[in-house]
């Protein structure tokens, strides 16, 4: 048991890195699903596309880390813009199951399009950082992993500041509380919805780019991530960004501990068991205030 505890700091560190990736995807999904109420099953494919955009920037264009992230952000913003305008806006307001089915079709389409164009081989994103692990106490960590946590902290802090202090941020928060009242109060709901969707897809893409420096990227990379992002948003409570941050980090830590102490094959299942439990007991989520179920 003592030897097991020696590894605990390492497991926690790994969990923190994975959790940071989850936070970015889940905060993006909170904006899209929790606030705009669009069930976007293709969100994981946004993550995957972000990974491939980073491959494009770092490998094909040979850019260093920060300009690569900029390329990812621009590509994903453009992509999010097109998807919102072409797919989700025309479907808005009608039967919500239509948007679910369409986003599912988009997910299948993007996954298989990438499979045909780049193949199933996993690709790595080159960060340009010095290889090899850094030792801190008895924890080993690579520069890429430290960068993931740092980038998540910076991006999330920037987002929270934008939400708190800018006009768009205020409009967005008012939209999350009551779209009708927001509209009456002069908020351009269509414009704010578009911006929200674009921010959400950029966050997913950045997460994919960052995580692909450690875990590689392949066309089905997003399939499991999107489910975990939904788990996080639902467990946190619809529209709660702070909740998504806490639950995202917690899920990363729990998965890492479960994989370390109970067996790696249980890693991916534990989140689903948590969400089924939470939905059955507290459908509004841990940090959700309103009892929203549909």
């Amino acid at each position: 048991m003592v030897s097991d505890l020696v590894l605990l700091p390492q497991f926690l560190t790994n969990g923190l890195v994975i959790g940071s990736g989850y936070v970015l995807v889940a905060v993006g999904l909170t904006l899209i699903f929790g606030i705009l109420h669009i069930v976007n099953f293709a969100h994981g494919e946004f993550y995957m596309l972000g990974g491939f955009a980073a491959v494009l920037g770092s490998q094909l264009l040979g850019l260093p880390a920060l300009p690569t992230l900029l390329v990812v952000a621009v590509v994903m913003a453009a992509f999010g813009l097109v998807v919102e305008r072409v797919v989700f806006r025309p479907l808005g307001g009608k039967d919500p199951t239509n948007a679910i089915i369409a986003s599912f079709g988009l997910s299948v389409l993007l996954q298989n399009l990438m499979l045909k164009t780049v193949g199933a081989e996993p690709m790595a994103v080159k960060s340009g950082f010095a290889p090899g692990a850094i030792q801190i106490g008895n924890v080993f960590i690579t520069a890429e992993r430290i960068a993931i946590v740092a980038a998540m902290a910076v991006i999330v802090a920037a987002l929270l500041l934008v939400l708190r202090y800018t006009w768009t941020g205020r409009a967005l928060r008012s939209l999350s509380e009551n779209p009708t009242v927001a509209l009456i109060s002069g908020v351009n709901v269509r414009r704010v919805s578009l911006i929200t969707f674009v921010i959400g897809s950029v966050l997913a893409g950045l997460s994919g780019a960052l995580m692909s420096t450690v875990f590689m990227v392949q066309p089905n990379s997003g399939a499991l991530i999107v489910m975990k992002a939904f788990i996080i948003v639902v467990v946190a409570g619809m529209g709660s960004i702070e909740g998504a941050i806490i639950v995202g980090l917690a899920l990363g830590l729990i998965e890492s501990l479960v994989a370390g102490y109970m067996g790696n094959e249980l890693r991916d299942i534990v989140g689903f068991l948590i969400v089924i439990l939470v939905l059955a007991v507290r459908p509004q989520g841990l940090f959700g205030l309103k009892t929203e179920r549909s």
Partner: protein, 302 residues
């Protein structure tokens, strides 16, 4: 009563297929098409008639298939034992998924079902001692069913029974309660329907039929692997229902036939079939959300 007669007539014509199609390959395609007819029709009980969304249908399909494979491994049983067992196992899991889903609507139900689908896939792929992991398990077909034409007739019979069952179910009083839940669940409960029991029963029936389809599939391809029962398979079944038309008896049947036969006829396109499914789902939802059959029969319902 016109529909069951047309169904019987269609089946009678389908009986002649093995004589017309000389190649075993096309009979194989026909068997797969029939299995998907069962899957799409049974999913439509939930999606079209009850208005409850599910992305977990391939999970029940897989549970049926794995029940057959595991029973054979342990007890050496054959198809006739596997069919009821696979259906019962799938129904049981349907109730298991249904119970925590009772309070959920729309979005959350879709997420719950896709979470369940993922859990089932992960268990099938990773619990190697029980399921054979990624390599799956072999299934042997008893000699009297070994001939592909014979197996085609067995599948055709099962499909006919399943479709007739779905027809009489949706036309029955029970079917009316399903439609009532779809159209307004609160109202249905207000006028005294026990919506929870009805939804669970509908879920169990829909899952049981998918489980039966799984047993047929396991025997047809002589084995089970987890990759046949992924969320992509669920997407395919959803695409069939949406393409054909939700809540129409002929909708899922037509959708399933189109989506299984089309890629085979245009065999150059077979490798693009998932891209086609994805694009088709988006296209249909945006242009023709009522489906092919829905568009052809006018806008009577919904």
């Amino acid at each position: 009563m016109r529909t069951p007669l047309i169904l019987l007539l269609t089946t009678a014509i389908a009986c002649a297929l093995p004589a017309v199609l000389e190649s075993g390959y096309f009979i194989n395609v026909a068997i797969i098409a029939l299995i998907y007819v069962i899957l799409a029709s049974s999913l439509d009980i939930m999606m079209g008639w009850t208005g409850k969304f599910s992305f977990a249908h391939a999970a029940f399909f897989g549970i049926g298939a794995y029940t057959a494979a595991m029973m054979q491994r342990s007890f050496g049983t054959d198809l006739w034992a596997h069919l009821p067992a696979g259906m019962a196992a799938a129904a049981l899991f349907g109730v298991l998924l249904g119970l925590p889903s009772l309070r959920l609507q729309g979005h959350f139900l879709a997420i719950m079902s896709i979470a369940f689908q993922t859990v089932v896939y992960l268990v099938l792929a990773q619990w190697t001692d029980l399921t054979g992991g990624h390599y799956g398990l072999p299934v042997e077909v008893s000699p009297e069913l070994g001939n592909v034409s014979t197996f085609y007739f067995v599948t055709l019979g099962c499909t006919l029974v399943a479709c007739l069952f779905v027809w009489f179910l949706t036309q029955s009083r029970f079917g009316d309660t399903l439609t009532a839940i779809r159209d307004d669940e609160t109202l249905a409960r207000t006028i005294g329907m026990d919506t929870n029991v009805i939804k669970i029963v509908a879920f169990a029936i829909s899952s049981a039929l998918a489980g039966g389809a799984g047993v047929l599939m396991a025997h047809h391809i002589r084995g089970v692997t987890p990759n046949d029962y992924t969320v992509m398979t669920s997407a395919t079944i959803v695409a069939m229902v949406v393409l054909g038309g939700r809540g129409k008896f002929w909708g899922p049947i037509v959708g399933a036939l189109i989506l299984t036969i089309l890629p085979e006829v245009l065999s150059d396109l077979a490798e693009y079939k998932h891209i086609m499914y994805g694009a088709l789902l988006i296209f249909m939802i945006m242009v023709m959300p009522q489906g092919v059959v829905g568009a052809l029969t006018g806008r009577k319902a919904k």
